[in-house]
Amino acid sequence: MNGSLHLWLIPLLPFAGFLINGLLGRHLPKPLVTTVALLAPLAAFGVVLNAGFLNYVHVNPGFGDPSPYIETCPFGWLNVGALHIDFSFVLDQLSMVMLLVVTGVGFLIHIYSVGYMKEDEGYARYFSYLNLFLFFMTTLVLADNALLMFVGWEGVGLASYLLVGFWFQKKSAADAGKKAFVVNRIGDFGFLIGMFLLLANFGTLTFTDIAAKLTQNPGWTGGVLTVTALCLLLGATGKSAQLPLYIWLPDAMEGPTPVSALIHAATMVTAGVYMIARTHVLFDHSPFALSVVAIVGAATAFFAATIALVQNDIKRVLAYSTISQLGYMFLGCGVAAYSAAIFHLMTHAFFKALLFLAAGSVIHGLGGEQDMRKMGGLRKKMPVTFWSMTAAVLAISGFFPFAGFFSKDAILYSAFQQGSLGKALYFVGLVTAALTAFYMFRLWYLTFMGENRDPHFHPHESPWSMLGPLVILAALSICGGWIGIDRFGSFLSSVTGSTIDPATAPGGKSLDFALSGVAVLVAFIGWFVAHLFYKQKPKQPAELAAALPSGYKVLTNKYYVDEFYGATVVKPLLAFSTYVLGWVVDRAILGGAAWLLGAIATFSGAILQRWQSGNIRSYAAWLAAGAAAVLLFLVVQWPAVLANFGIHLGMMGH
């Protein structure tokens, strides 16, 4: 191709930042820590841009150099029998888009963090973790085989754990980190089983080899492929917070807000979507698994959106909205519209990172307050935050011409084209879009409109290190979708397969326009209801809640899912561990065995101790007796003596 693109620098630069700040950060002056922490992602972003320019723009101005560029570490990794796994990175259109999002948005969030975490004691520790996250995330994205991807996959889980529990003195934060880690283990178990199945059936973990083998056998569908795909899906639901494993994400909001923006909105949680897109050939060969993906996605989107309706913590609303939007991406994958899913992944990274950062700016301005009921009237006090948040709200609600409109529309359109199941899921997605618009504008009205509800607060606008990223992300949230799904899809087509072209599909262009119109209309309805509830008749929500107490209670308690898992999984497991493993196995069996060994030694020691009388003459007597015994043994003709007693030894016994 065109020489080396130095892909290895992309993960290793943040890793260097992690090492420097992690090992020496406490002893370095703050400006130096900041410089290292910011340079690492910036340089990685530069390498990504350079690679993208060389590979896709410079060489072939028309986009779409189809062959992926692969960079392999010359030392190899695992060579066991027929199994060869290398440290190799792949740059194709898919990983290119992901890398731009990860390093680009990641860099912006690093800048934001400088302002947000300025007063924190663990400043260097925070940035070393953030750099560590980028190291693992870029490894995950660049990996060209499932095992290396799994390394990154586990690594981002670790970074997420460290950052969710960043304020570990707070019990709720430490617990949330633990919960995120444990719930993710369940998904990782699925990923691992899926990998074993891939290895057993394909003999390789390299994505391109698996795809090639599947393309050679077009008739091979279902069966073991479905099982493999479902296992991988389980992994994806863990990492991407889908039903039934979404419960860790709302709790993960205990971490610092920039972390929520970077890890729990823009990048890490989309790893599941990315993984499905990477292995999409497998899913294409299993229609059942694809339907499951679509149903899981649509169900999660709707389910999480309903919970978001009644949350009062500003970050929790955003957390449930993230789960809901990830559901859209899964729906996109499930209807085989992978490029639409990745498109939504990208625009979502822009506007959801922006939403979190703006929320962080609000929280920062109010001195740590997260309850929306106490906010209000902030539009005059924090104008920059207000306007960028507005752009993000419009984008996530799917208004034309903001970024979210294009990507959400692409997913809904693709769903509508996929038979009766697709049409049903389309309506779920449509209702979810209305709910999304409602809860986002609810947040918007409660936070920025009206008057200040709590006189204790003296809100102030955040410093420019925080506002700068907001403005850039606001611009991206507005313009990010203008590429359009057609161009985006054709750019990705060599990896994810071609998308449906509205011009030739049933219904033609007019259907596309009609569906877009319906989507915008639905978003307007959501806005209108929110306007009604929180602007014109502020008493209305309380009355509605009073009219439907049971429904309201179920929603505020998040459908009691945590309680349900607690009662069905955690409690029995805890009881089993305490009583069976703890008391029976540990104390009775293992402890008993240890005690028995000790008792035998003590008891025999107590007997043998009497031998050691300390009396020289008794020692001498034993010595003499021993010598006599040896003599007796040597001198006496034992076989003959024994024969006298009628005993014959084996050797002589003929």
Binding site: S613, G614, N615, I616, R617, A624
Partner: protein
């Protein structure tokens, strides 16, 4: 018979004497309480062994046995010097030479 005619004491008598002396040494070592007597019993055992060395040397016309005797005597002399020194040291500190009471190694 032959040995009686040549007026020579037979080999087995020497060995028997040696064994008796050795057994007496062991017996003394085991039953006597006084440390010095015990020490003398050891000397007795050494000399019993010396006797059998000399006997065999004479029997086989080999000088090695006699050389061994000198070795043993030399070691015994050195041992007597060290042993008596220890006995004096023990007596000075414990004011007794009864073996039964020198039992600090007991638990």
């Amino acid at each position: 018979m032959n040995s009686l005619l040549t007026n020579e004491v037979p080999l087995s008598w020497y060995l028997l004497l040696s064994a008796i002396l050795f057994s007496l040494g062991v017996l003394g070592f085991l039953v006597k309480r006084n440390l010095i007597t015990v020490f003398m019993s050891i000397e007795l055992m050494l000399n019993a062994v010396n006797l059998s060395f000399v006997t065999f040397a004479h029997q086989w016309h080999a000088v090695k046995g006699q050389i061994f005797v000198f070795f043993v005597m030399m070691v015994a002399a050195a041992e007597a010097a060290v042993g008596l020194a220890i006995i004096i040291a023990v007596f000075r500190t414990r004011a007794t030479l009864a073996v039964d009471r020198i039992d600090l190694m007991k638990l």
